[in-house]
């Protein structure tokens, strides 16, 4: 066990914070999208940097990745990757309430990613008395081969990734996407400090 691993209590606490955040975020999304949003309990796992590629490779079907940076007080920061599967993407424009042809596929998934990421992280930040800012979302790549190539070319400066798998099911528009939160070393220490504070308050 090293300084970046979470204890069992810390892990439970984080899972709970994420569950609540997901719950509230999906409620907001349902209202905004004007449809029911069903949501499974998100699975959380830690992935070490050197294993991330393998872990992403399991999702060979993923064809598009959108990245968005986030940063809050107390040194809580990281990068959120949203990964999509191709068959899910046909009716996103419908779902988002745009007219057909009004926006390109790229723009649809960037828009959706931004909404998913910021809605979730805003609620999450709120629970730990924090506040997030975001960089503009960027489409890393449209096809898996180049996604992997892109990731491998990045000189990542983080050691542990928190992989939060979210499966959204929206009535009539079923789609799945994985949200992977990449969190650099010192931000993990900062998150642990926040979690410990919450645990101490119980």
């Amino acid at each position: 066990m090293n300084a970046f691993d979470l204890t069992e209590d810390q892990q439970d606490c984080l899972q709970e914070l994420i569950n609540v955040a997901m719950g509230q975020a999906s409620d907001q999304l349902a209202r905004y999208l004007d449809t029911f949003v069903y949501l499974k309990v998100p699975s959380i796992e830690q992935v070490r940097a050197e294993h991330l590629f393998d872990s992403l490779n399991e999702d060979l079907a993923a064809t598009a990745i959108v990245s968005q940076g986030f940063f809050g007080y107390e040194g809580i920061r990281g990068e959120a990757l949203l990964m999509y599967e191709p068959q899910d993407s046909h009716r996103l424009a419908d779902l988002l309430g745009y007219e057909a042809g009004e926006l390109t596929f790229d723009e649809q998934i960037i828009d959706l990613s931004s909404i998913l990421t910021t809605t979730f992280l805003n609620v999450f930040a709120n629970q730990i008395d924090n506040q997030m800012s975001y960089s503009a979302p960027r489409l890393l790549s449209g096809s898996l081969g180049s996604v992997n190539k892109h990731l491998q070319q990045q000189a990542f400066n983080w050691d542990l990734a928190l992989k939060v798998r979210i499966s959204y099911q929206v009535t009539d528009y079923s789609f799945n996407c994985d949200m992977v939160l990449l969190i650099p070393e010192e931000a993990i220490i900062n998150i642990k400090t926040v979690i410990d504070r919450i645990l101490a308050e119980f």
Binding site: Q28, Y98, L103, I110, I115, S133, A136, R138
Partner: protein, 314 residues
Amino acid sequence: MLDALSKNISDQLNTGILILDHDFNILMWNRFLKVHANKSDKDVIGNSIFKVFPELPRKWFERKLSSVIQLKNQSFCSWEQRHHLFELSHSRPITTDSDFMAQNCTFMPIEGENGAERICILIEDVTDVCHYQTQLTKVLQELALANRIDGLTQTFNRKHWEECLASEFSRAVRYKQDLALIMLDLDEFKVLNDTYGHQGGDIALIETAKSINELLRMGDLFGRYGGEEFAIILPNTDLAGAEEVAERIRIDIANNIIEFQEQNITVTVSIGVAVVNEQDLRYEDLISHADIALYQAKKLGRNRVCIAKKKVVA
């Protein structure tokens, strides 16, 4: 004090700031926008954003802002998806070919006086980024092309041609389709080089490639295999079809008169033709069959087409 400072700073920022109420009326803008939109306060403040900037895609814009209002989220719009939202002048009208400023826009919810909810739009000038990114993409495309092309003859180079053959071969085997290969070699090329010099030899290669190109169909893949050797992949073509193409190429080249330094050069080619058969396991097998036929054509006196013999299974 802070208000005065903020005003001072916001008017010197190289980023546009626009504050709207929930009915999309403009409450405030900063100097950057005023200058680049070239409109005056009285035509802007208090007016609907759609009246001031009629170029905005209204439905899209309203939907975008509804997520900001309802979810209290930041929302973004990058030049890569939409070059610009607002038709603004930019600082490089001479050195770029952009008509309008390329923009990254951020939409965010903010709290106004008495807790009133407002929308703030930040507009960044990314004309430079857009310009260089576009140039980079263009250069990368050119590089990718240059990487596939033989500089002298403008046909595919050996490496790319072989990659094409590998993929055509596996496709043909998988779907049990015809695939033919033509390999051809200029006859007595060394003599030609000795007679007319290397420049003469180069011209002969260029002209030969040109005449072959004119005889090919869309989908045929033509490359320079080696020094004076060319190769053509003919997808969905049987032996008779390939032989016909080969014969036409042979006659065309033999009749072609190449002018070089007021001299007329004629060249002939020897051609080997092969088609994929069931015994072929690798694309290299197809090459060696065509190569053997080509050698046969040379041996039989050049300027002729030879067909690879079908292997008889004993």
